[in-house]
Amino acid sequence: MNWGVIVFPGSNCDRDAAYVLTESLGQRVDLIWHQETSLNGKDAIVLPGGFSYGDYLRSGAVAQFSPIMAAVKDFARDGGIVLGICNGFQILLEMGLLPGTMRPNVGLSFVCKDVWVKVENADTPFTRAYKSGQVIRLPIAHAEGNYYADPVTVSSLRANAQIVFRYCEADGTPTERANPNGSLDNVAGIQNAAGNVLGLMPHPERGAESILGNEDGRLLFHSLINAVPVRESVQESTKKSRKDDERYRIIAVTQPDGDR
C-alpha cells in the first residue's frame, strides 16, 4: 500500500508513524508537507499526533485549513482511508469528518501514560486484525482528549457501532476510574458512518514493536494492509542504519524548515 503521512508545523509523531509503516510493515510512505495540494494517488492517509500550529485557538482548529486538507477532505469523501491519531483525531473533529469535539481533560492535566483500551468494534478496516472485545494496552499523551458530542450524535454513534475504542479496566470494563480524561462514554476512538475515517487518542504507532515492549498497536496498521505481506523480522530490517530520506520520501515544494 501507498501511504501518505501529513506533516504540519508542530507535528511530532509523523516519523513514528512512517517508521512503523515502512520498517515494521514494509509499506511505502510519503511524508507530505501541509503546504502541498495533492495526495498523488495514495491508498491511505495518516494525520499524525503532535501539536499542529502549537494548538493555537483550539487543537486542530488551524490545521484543518492547511492547503493539503482540501485534498484530504475530498479523499475521505470519496471513501479513502484516513486515520487520525491524537492531534490527527482532533483535526478530523474540527474538519467535521468525524462528529463531536474535544474538551480539555477533566483535571486539566496533560496525561501521558499507558492505558487499557477495548476494541468495541472489530468489524472495521482499522480493527479487523483484532478480536471483538479485545483489551489492548496503548500509550496516550494529550491535554484535550475529553470527547464530547450532543445526545443525538452519541446515540447515533452507538446505534451504528461507530465507537470503536473505549478506555477500560484490564478486564474490559469501561469504568470512570479507567477513563483518563473524562471522555463521554469512555470514548477513545470513533469512526465515521461510512467506516473509512477513524480517529483515536491513543498512539498505536508508539506501541507497535516488541523491542519497545508493546505490539498491541501494530494490529491497527496491519488491519489496513491487505495484499502486502508483512515483514517477518523488525530487528532484521532496522539493523541497517539508513537516513530518513532513504527510508521514506519527503514530499514538499518548500522544505519543512522553510516557509511555514
Binding site: L57, E94, G100, T101, V106
Partner: protein, 86 residues
C-alpha cells in the same frame, strides 16, 4: 471597522478551568464567587467601510474558524475605526 469578539462555552458545558479558578478564589477568601466561566477575547480589525458587510465577514469568521460551535458560542461588538487606505 474593529470587532471585539467574546467566545464562551455554552451553558451546560463543564468548564474545568473556570472550576479550578473558582476554587482558587475561594481559597483566597473570595467567598462570594458563585461561578467562573473562562472564555476567549479577540480584537479583529477589518478593512471594510460598510458596517453590514463587516458584520457578515465577522460572523463567517466566527462560524468557520474562531468558535467550535459544538460547545462554544460567540458575541461581538463592532466599532468604527479610521479607514485604512491602501
Amino acid at each position: 471597522m474593529k470587532a471585539k469578539i467574546y467566545i464562551t462555552l455554552k451553558a451546560g458545558i463543564v468548564d474545568p478551568q473556570g472550576r479550578a479558578i473558582q476554587q482558587s478564589l475561594a481559597t483566597l477568601g473570595f467567598s462570594t464567587v458563585n461561578d467562573v466561566r473562562v472564555g476567549k477575547f479577540l480584537e479583529i480589525e477589518v478593512n471594510e467601510e460598510n458596517p453590514a458587510e463587516a458584520e457578515t465577514q465577522i460572523k463567517a469568521m466566527c462560524e468557520k474558524l474562531l468558535t467550535n460551535t459544538v460547545i462554544e458560542e460567540y458575541r461581538y461588538e463592532l466599532e468604527t475605526l479610521p479607514l485604512v487606505k491602501p
